[in-house]
């Protein structure tokens, strides 16, 4: 992870950390903090706890997002401190709706100059976000809102399983992973487990990205903690609730970072510090899908 992040990310890059509640790349975010990157333009639909940490650590100068809250809990306090009070530094924001941001990624993944979208009409958002514009509908009456492609310098995506080349399977909520994997310039893929290429080829419909679009592959079990990986471990809801208190002031947030990010060398040490009991509590039961038969045509 250390090598992948160190090589893929540069100061000033636009960095998309993918995963909608599911498969959030926390371990990669922590590594970005540890390596002290600055002036990053961070992008996620839901900044979540990981962007709160990156903002508090001073890694970000700009954030693009569509819903900035602590999901199911409340506010993202570090994000709010930066936007409301410039603490620890001013933070430029570029704001969309979920659909608007997803459409930007879709345009990026498809190599289009823009995509139309039926949202934003009547909202005040277009007045504050320059990239949300309108064009005349060439086939009908009136105008339609459009957004340009989003092509981040770097995307970090996660998958439950991948082979060494980065061919990856995701199940459960896919979020924006399939789009951002094709939209970004450089892609870092972190997987709960590495498997043989035959495993991927046995179920090609489950593939969200193939290795040709992946630049770095990292085997990174539990790297989504405290978010979850469907079938591997559940969300650590206590951690989401605790963050509300941890992030109450900039000082308390820094103390947490000191202990849980700077104070450990890597994600393995973070997990050891977290302890087996806590990880065991996040174990899920099993609920296997019925196998399909691809047929044998040899």
């Amino acid at each position: 992870m250390s090598t992948a992040i160190g090589s893929a990310v540069n100061d000033g890059d636009s960095v998309y950390l993918a995963g909608f509640t599911h498969l959030i790349p926390f371990s990669a975010g922590h590594e970005i903090i540890r390596q002290g990157f600055e002036e990053l333009h961070l992008i996620r639909a839901t900044p979540d706890l990981i962007f709160d940490r990156l903002i508090a650590a001073g890694c970000a100068s700009k954030i693009t997002f569509s819903w900035a809250g602590n999901p199911g809990v409340g506010s993202l306090r570090a994000f709010r401190r930066a936007v409301e009070d410039d603490v620890p530094a001013p933070l430029e924001i570029e704001e969309y709706t979920h659909f608007g941001l997803m459409t930007r990624l879709a345009a990026g993944a498809r190599g289009l100059p823009f995509l139309p979208v039926r949202t934003f009409a009547g909202s005040d958002l277009p007045a504050h976000t320059d990239a949300i514009r309108t064009v005349e509908d060439p086939f009908g009456d009136g105008s339609v809102h459009v957004v340009p492609p989003l092509e981040p310098d770097v995307a970090v995506i996660r998958a439950q399983r991948a082979d060494r080349d980065g061919n990856a399977h995701v199940w459960g909520i896919q979020g924006e992973i399939p789009e951002v994997a094709l939209a970004a310039e450089t892609v870092v893929l972190c997987a709960e487990e590495l498997v043989d290429e035959r495993v991927i080829r046995s179920d090609p419909n489950r593939t969200v990205v193939t290795g040709a679009d992946v630049d770095y592959v990292v085997e990174d079990p539990y790297g989504s903690h405290p978010s979850y990986a469907q079938g591997y471990y559940d969300r650590d809801n206590e951690a989401y609730l605790e963050w509300d208190a941890v992030s109450e002031t900039h000082d308390s947030t820094e103390r947490w970072l000191e202990e849980w990010v700077y104070g450990v060398a890597n994600h393995r040490e973070y997990l050891e510090k977290l302890g087996a009991r806590r990880l065991l509590d996040l174990e899920t039961g099993t609920d296997y899908a019925t196998p399909i038969d691809m047929g044998s045509y040899s």
Binding site: S66, W67, Y228
Partner: protein, 269 residues
């Protein structure tokens, strides 16, 4: 819909005829559930909307289809989801799509009948602010933002707005329009070509609907609430129906489903 949690004072009311006690949230969930019809597709949020949909499924609308912003189709959550991306929304669902497909193929294309919305401010035309209190560039309070709310408000065939009823939440005009309601009236919404529109605003005091011009009026007051309570909690001179009804309180069956099966740990109730 994002994480709409209703922060009511949760005073406990009692229906004088049945003597059943219930909280504000239980009443809100029950009213919202009754707004849903069988065989509809609903874009759900966690918290109160989720409880309302699951209550409707277990009473009058067994074939309700639950969609979530995370891209799940006909979710069948075995326990209460903690977020709109909870694993229980994917397990046992009829389908899971990438988010772009969920929003474009289902919501934008008109396959969602009902959407739930909430927000920090709602005005007389049902325009909703969940973005910022104060100036956008120099906010007093920075709120989470739209999430999927703007597209739900623009593309669902109708929306239901759930909120607690306080004067600061019902200003004459909102600081920022995140999600369009009827804008300046029904004609202005139609002029933009937006589908649907808000059908009802359900609060801890009243059920309000929109008149022919697209302006809110009080249809029913909850038991124990009078006109002045609602008026004082609203930032403009509120219209009332010719005959204001009293909201039907939760039944014993609805309350026991909520308390014993849907939210036994009392996470939201």
């Amino acid at each position: 819909m994002t994480d709409a949690r209703i922060n009511t004072t949760d005073s406990t009311a009692a229906d004088s005829e049945t003597n059943l006690e219930y909280t504000d949230t239980e009443l809100l969930v029950t009213i919202a559930a009754r707004e849903l019809e069988d065989d509809e597709s609903v874009l759900v949020g966690v918290g109160v909307p989720n409880l309302a949909c699951n209550l409707a499924k277990r009473t009058h609308a067994p074939n309700l289809r639950l969609f979530y912003e995370s891209g799940t189709i006909d979710s069948d959550p075995s326990s209460l989801p903690l977020s709109i991306g909870d694993p229980v929304l994917a397990s046992g669902a009829l389908g899971v799509t990438p988010m772009y497909e969920g929003f474009s193929r289902y919501l934008q294309a008109g396959r969602i009948d009902v959407g739930f919305l909430g927000g920090a401010q709602i005005d007389r035309y049902g325009n909703i602010n969940s973005t910022v209190i104060g100036e956008y560039d120099d906010p007093t309070v920075r709120l989470p933002g739209s999430g999927g709310a703007c597209e739900i408000a623009s593309n669902a065939h109708r929306t239901l707005v759930l909120t607690s009823h306080q004067r600061r939440r019902f200003p004459e005009s909102v600081d920022f329009v995140t999600s369009p309601g009827y804008l300046d009236g029904r004609e202005s919404r139609e002029a933009l070509g937006l589908r649907g529109g808000p059908e009802a605003v359900i609060t801890d005091l009243a059920v309000m609907r929109f008149d022919a011009a697209g302006e809110l009026y009080v249809e029913s007051l909850h038991p124990g609430v009078d006109r002045s309570d609602v008026q004082e909690a609203t930032g403009w001179e509120l219209a009332f129906a010719d005959e204001v009804e009293t909201t039907t309180p939760p039944t014993g069956e609805e309350l026991s489903l909520l308390r014993e099966e849907l939210d036994p740990d009392g996470l939201y109730l």
